[in-house]
Subunit: 308 residues, 2 copies
Amino acid sequence: MEIKPVLKDKNVVMVGLGLMGGALAMALRKESPNWIGAIDTNSEVLEQALDEGVIDQGENDEDGTRRILSEADFVYFCLYPRTTVNFFKTYMKDFKSGAVITDITGVKQILVDEVLPILRDDVDFIMGHPMAGSEKEGFGGANEDIFLGHNYILVPMPQNQPENIKWLKQVIYSMGFTNIVETTPEGHDKRIGFTSQLCHVIACALIDCKEERHLSDFEGGSFMDLTRIAMINAPMWAELFSVNRDALLSQIDDFEKSMKILRTMIENQDEKGLTERMTSVRKKRVLMEIDRKNRTLAVKNEIENKKA
Amino acid sequence: MEIKPVLKDKNVVMVGLGLMGGALAMALRKESPNWIGAIDTNSEVLEQALDEGVIDQGENDEDGTRRILSEADFVYFCLYPRTTVNFFKTYMKDFKSGAVITDITGVKQILVDEVLPILRDDVDFIMGHPMAGSEKEGFGGANEDIFLGHNYILVPMPQNQPENIKWLKQVIYSMGFTNIVETTPEGHDKRIGFTSQLCHVIACALIDCKEERHLSDFEGGSFMDLTRIAMINAPMWAELFSVNRDALLSQIDDFEKSMKILRTMIENQDEKGLTERMTSVRKKRVLMEIDRKNRTLAVKNEIENKKA
């Protein structure tokens, strides 16, 4: 598509205007949509977003919801997994024919099981997951800068329209994301169970296992880095862990196997074994750092090219 | 002491000129010592440091070592634990009478057991641990900026001279550290086993347990934050883990208890329990963040005051 800006003449609806919904709405505004509407149960948040010009209309009742959905060309679900499923069930008949729908839900199998079977044929739901967040919670913490240089996972299905996938990628890049990767629902839930959910479980366990507040006086950066994400949105992550239970348990068990191997080596004061294993770990992690640096460099070059 | 700069007329010797020894030497230079000497087995490193003006003399043989030690008012040990012990044993008779000695060793009980019993009465060895580092290794990665705003642990013993402790604190603050905390050897080894060593074990286990290099395509920051320190100096950490074995094993076991509790809750899909536990975790971690922000604010104010 040659149209620029990418949202020109489109009516956009955000379903859920929390930290992510708010930040995404801010980022979408730059692509000049016809209007941005938002649906949220919290009317104060809607008023604040209206005041700040982040959205053009806000709805928190059934009639209003049905009305703006029926006019929306692009619908962005920014809810917890079960609320996403319930919203689809309640409002399936209200989407505009031809609407492109996407979401940010941190688990995908539940959508495959409960949303795809009831999805109307004349709307296109392309599942996605922006890999960005913040320890802040709610619309008040929303900030579009959290997307710059980040990954975005897309989980396209055979029934998705190629031109809609292509268009959605343009929208995603326009918000500042750099790297779009595609995978299956199973691949998503498994990998996210590792890179995201397991990391949150570990961070929480590190904070959970000690009472001493002033531990941070005795650290050089590692401990605070490892536990930043323990400033966690508790009910949201409790639901994510629970909904993705089997994939997450399997990742915890893989991690625990490596912990046990290292613990045994430490117990045996096997310095040779530890050195070999950690030398291989260092090499693997350095390669990942190179991947990341290359991605960041690509963003910088793109920003420079846009300026020039 | 009113003398400024704090190292005026002092001869300083760095024992070991790796990443930390190099960075500390760079930071000490600003306090105008009479000269800075360095002892290292690697003559190329000494030449590079001489070329860059980081040190004024470098020694890598026994005679040279004895000569500069005998002239040094301040000796900074920047070696691995066992090498520190061996150096003390070999060169104990060569220190200048009245010298203040300190170290950066990541474990302290080994020094209490093997160095303090043989320490001469006319030198003052004050144990310490700068809580800063880098994933870079060796003198080539040295950079004094890594100290700004960081913690420094001191482990003073009854036999240390109060005026020397006071002077050493001035030296530490002059290098950019903000927060000096004092503890016992046992308190140090226990807490460092948690905030530093356990975090390194976890980071290594996270990298160790998967083969997939391109996992970083599927992450939003947490995974890379949690595993930065897996770019580890393998032989050094193998020695640290081994020398601090009992304290570290006890910390691993405490962490594993919390992991097990969380794992069971996830297995039972106990979202209420998870929410309660993670809400309490969030509160604890937010308080730590406040402590850290207050420390950072204190540094900024100090830098502003110096400018004014």
